[in-house]
């Protein structure tokens, strides 16, 4: 076992799959010689050749279309969208085309494509580099949307995503790329898609989160413990489809829940989790299910980022409202 950051775990997963399946292709903007702007593909072109790891012209819709076409000829493309804010340029290729390939062809064609992309705030990027747009993706039937919160999960989930025969949007939080290391096995392993992970068990409140907000929620849970509250933290890991079984089991145990997301409050994943809980477990609830989310503005310019992004204090505040309801 080695200590890895999330970015190293991602590179490791890509290397495992390039070795495992000759149909795996990696491409995108600057992923070749440069190894990606975050070095996610560091050394892969050198190791596997320019035929399998290659740079494309700078056009996101073209990258999406290329992935679809390569999938039709039996490849297993793993394109990178350099920043997920650029997804608007490739919305048709993803939601209008990739997500519908199996459906549109009546099951004759599939699109085993994994689109990797960094997202998320807190690192002072220019505009359109930090937006949390997973909710948009979750609204496209045909896709799966995966968001890891740890290096270990990133590797196992990415390998599962690449092996999945349906398209997966794999979103990597920018702030988590190098924020900490943990033990990650060097061999290949998978973590099933659509399965949440109970990061911390508790009796009084369930917090559902994903991505960076898992860590803010864990921090909040520690603080709340000092005040005598036993808080469960569940990392959703896959935000579409949701692991309803784990979510409901947790709520039935704690009877109180909040959902934490970095994205704006309007629509989105948290709203969907709340809806599932109220549809399935309303009689277990002792309090309304509240959300911690960013305000419904566009993603702010860097100077306003820190006041805008939800953090563990916001989680504690909302948790207390629910705990004392």
């Amino acid at each position: 076992m080695a200590q890895m950051t999330m970015i190293q775990a991602i590179t490791d997963a890509l290397r495992c799959e390039l070795k495992n399946d000759e149909n795996v292709l990696i491409f995108g903007e600057d992923v070749g010689v440069n190894g990606g702007v975050f070095r996610a593909t560091e050394g892969l072109q050198q190791e596997f050749g320019v035929d399998r790891v290659f740079d494309t012209p700078l056009a996101e819709s073209g990258i999406g279309g290329l992935a679809i076409g390569l999938a039709l000829t039996g490849y297993r493309p793993v394109p990178e969208i350099q920043f997920f804010g650029f997804v608007f340029e490739v919305m048709d290729s993803i939601s209008g085309q990739l997500a519908r390939m199996r459906y549109r062809s009546g099951g004759v064609y599939s699109a085993p494509v994994t689109i990797r992309s960094p997202f998320g705030g807190g690192v002072h990027t220019p505009e359109m580099h930090s937006d949390s747009l997973e909710g948009l993706m979750a609204q496209s039937p045909g896709l799966k949307v995966v968001i890891p919160s740890t290096p270990y999960d990133a590797k196992g989930l990415l390998i599962s995503s690449i092996r999945d025969n349906d398209p997966v949007i794999f979103l990597e939080h920018l702030k988590l790329y190098r924020s900490f290391r943990e033990e990650v096995p060097e061999e290949s392993y998978t973590i099933p898609l659509g399965k949440a992970d109970v990061k911390r068990e508790g009796k009084d409140l369930s917090i559902f989160a994903y991505g960076l907000m898992v860590h803010e929620s864990l921090k909040a849970a520690e603080e709340l413990e000092k005040e005598g509250y036993s808080v469960e933290v569940v990392d959703l890991r896959t935000v579409q489809p949701l692991d309803i079984e784990t979510i409901i089991a947790s709520v039935e145990k704690t009877n109180r829940a909040i959902v934490v997301q970095e994205a704006q409050k309007q629509a989105g994943i948290a709203a969907n989790v709340v809806a599932e809980i109220t549809e399935r477990a309303i009689l277990s609830l002792e309090a309304p299910v509240l959300r911690v989310a960013a305000p419904d503005t566009v993603y702010p310019f860097p100077q306003a980022e820190n006041v805008w992004l939800p953090n563990y204090k916001d989680v504690i505040e909302t948790a207390k409202k629910v705990l004392t309801f």
Partner: protein, 370 residues
């Protein structure tokens, strides 16, 4: 030196010079005469007859489709009359293993590539079975989003190149489609990867109602290929021989590893944009219609074949009768296809159903059993 500089520093004259060089390629003129003997293709008598047969067949298919649509028995339909040379002569240069990524008007090509006619009718009716290409028939369902097929074609072509096959990926859009971002991204990607693709712009003069002149300042649509650094040619799209030769040569270049080609076929659709309420008299005059009718692709090809003693009224009648019979059979088969259900659709979403769809599957299965 001076001359070269004046060229570089006079972008207007450079453009004029380039645009002047884009002359429409024609082999068979409106009267059915060979005007470019050197490029006349060496097709056998059987092949010439087959190409004519397919064009006549497709004209009948178009007439019957319009009539079936009016009777409420077809659904979505985009008329093809006027575009037979552009569609069928380009397809005629392809091989069985080649890929076609069609636009919504390009049903004839995929039918002659192997999609059974009854499935084409089911596509029109909006039944998923119509989109299920049989094993070994490399066609996609007709694309509805204008231009989306262009970027995918670059991908299929790159895949064929990586696989080392001797095949090409072929796609079609229209004059309107050539304004889309995906159009440029598609030709540019294919060019950058030297991928074996053939991109068609079937310039039928109108994007629904918007005339060709409003789409671009360019004199031709073909010249857009220059921006991607790929060979490009404007062809008389009412001339089956010119379309065939341009496609054949593009295919040969692609197979030799020389990359993609952009082909503009200048043609006309006689009918409305689709049968869903478009009224062409709002944007075209009878005079324009007549001008194009005089260039008809079937009329001139018939004259050419009659001159060679390869075609007759009786022969044409035979093709028409066969087309009518096969269309009748295909409609019957389409009618016999079981109605689609919500559970069919759910099943086609993922390889393994996620939990939300598993639940919805049970709900609809129960509803459907009532």
């Amino acid at each position: 030196m001076g001359e070269k500089l004046s060229n570089q520093y006079n972008p207007q004259s450079l453009l004029n010079e380039i645009e002047e060089k884009f002359q429409m390629f024609q082999i068979l003129n409106e009267k059915g005469e060979i005007v470019d003997k050197e490029n006349e293709p060496n097709l056998s008598d059987e092949e010439l007859v087959e190409l004519m047969t397919r064009m006549v067949y497709t004209r009948i298919l178009d007439q019957r489709s319009i009539s079936l649509n009016r009777q409420g028995r077809l659904g979505f339909y985009a008329p093809t009359a006027g575009q037979e040379a552009s569609q069928l002569a380009s397809h005629f240069a392809l091989e069985k293993e080649d890929w076609i990524l069609p636009g919504y008007r390009d049903v004839p090509q995929i039918v002659f590539h192997g999609l059974p006619l009854w499935k084409a009718f089911l596509f029109s009716r909006g039944h998923f079975v119509g989109n299920q290409a049989p094993e070994g028939v490399n066609v996609l369902a007709p694309q509805i989003i204008i231009g989306a097929q262009y970027v995918q074609t670059a991908g299929v072509a790159l895949g064929l190149k990586k696989r080392g096959t001797k095949n090409v990926a072929v796609t079609y859009t229209g004059d309107g489609g050539s304004s889309q971002g995906d159009f440029y991204e598609g030709i540019n990607f294919a060019g950058a990867f030297k991928a074996p693709a053939i991109f068609f712009i079937q310039n039928n003069q109108y994007a629904i109602s918007t005339p060709r002149e409003l789409q671009t300042a360019g004199k031709t649509l073909a010249q857009k290929g220059i921006s991607a650094g790929i060979p490009c040619v404007q062809v008389d799209g009412m001339d089956a021989l010119a379309v065939y030769v341009a496609t054949r040569d593009a295919r040969e270049r692609a197979i030799r590893g020389e990359g993609p080609t952009l082909i503009e076929t200048v043609c006309y659709r006689y009918g409305p944009h689709t049968m869903s309420g478009d009224d062409p008299t709002r944007y075209r005059t009878a005079e324009i219609d007549n001008e194009w009718a005089a260039k008809d692709p079937i009329v001139r090809f018939r004259t050419y074949l009659e001159g060679k003693g390869l075609w007759s009224e009786a022969k044409e009648e035979e093709v028409i009768e066969r087309a009518k019979e096969e269309i009748k059979e295909a409609i019957k088969k389409a009618d016999e296809t079981p109605k689609q259900t919500v559970t069919d659709l759910i099943t086609n979403m993922y390889e393994e159903l996620p939990v939300n769809l598993q639940e919805q599957y049970s709900i609809y299965k129960e509803k459907e059993s009532r």
